[in-house]
Amino acid sequence: MAWTAPRTWVADEVATAALMNAHLRDNLEVLKVTRNAAGRIYDLSAATLANLSGANVTGIVKPAGANAFTAGRTRFLGSARLVVPVGADKYEDLGGGLRRGVWLEGDYLHHIAANQSTEWRYLGAFVSAPAGAAPGSIWVEGEYLHYVDAAGDERRCLSYGASGHADTAAQPGSIWVETYWHWIQETGTQEKPGHADVAHSDGSVHYDEHADVAHSDWHADTGHADSHSDEHSDSHGDAHLDKSTGDHQDSHTDWYGDKHGDDHTDTPHWDGHSDSHTDTHTDHNDHGDSIHYDAPEMVT
């Protein structure tokens, strides 16, 4: 039955049956549709609410299409993001020594193992320092589990190998805790384990390339040379005159001329020397060594 706009009654009006039925009985029945015998609305269903959208309801989770909650599975796809608690010991205390939770503490990604007791932490390898990234953000990228630490640095936890199985129905980005982290890599269905004890071993092939350009010297000496010449000439003349008459008179005159000249030229000593030496060295790291990997570490 439909709602009729309530009639405005006038004085001395005859309240006909038709009026009473339309404005009282039928309208009251309309108002009763959503109420139970106690006067309360039955429930939140199409029978009681014309529009069931929860958009105006507060205090509830309002997912967008990118992070639908469907059949108990929460997905953070597209633009959706997941941020885990950041700070010291952000686990849930279940009492009796039991705990559970995942959180960021400093540079480390912590979690409580499935035994609800043992705390582990991963120190992811530094990736970058993205501006504006919210600490606690966590996601799967490629084969690795990435997170943003408390300082805002992006880090990633390695997985090792593919010891986990590939479940054909597995959703990329699925993540869970057994003793350690496990996740499904970004593409495909491969499970990646967050832990493996792998001993270090050296591969059999290891070589370095080293090439030397031979050492060559160029050396030229210009020898020292002296050039020396002496010129010396002496001239000596005596003139002696004796007079034998009367008074004796001797006249003697000596003259001596000496000329000496030296001419000396030195050619300086000169050494020319040039060395040329080039080394080319290439280290190869494709030596087939398996790394040692034993993350995470237990927190005691």
């Binding site: 009282l24 929860g54 909650f69 108990g72 599975r73 939770g101 993205p130 980005g173």
Partner: protein
Amino acid sequence: MAWTTPKTWTIGELVTADDLNTHLRDNLSHLKVAVNDDGKIPALSSTYIADLSGLNLTGIARLAATNDFADGVQDFSAGAGTRLVIPVGADKWAT
């Protein structure tokens, strides 16, 4: 106050005070329980709605017992069917 099925009035009937009190006053009072003076339901609470389950609502997270949001804890560890899928792809940090 209990609901009384509204009376079907008949031609020539004398409208008595009892009828008006039962079929108008009391039934209107019954209907007033869940609405305020403006005719709006004051709140989504058990005072006004007998069953507050959101299972029939759309556009909200429908939580199961295995992944409840309780006391600020989003718990994905109870029950075999609960799962948490985190973002995948390059640089999926939040801002």
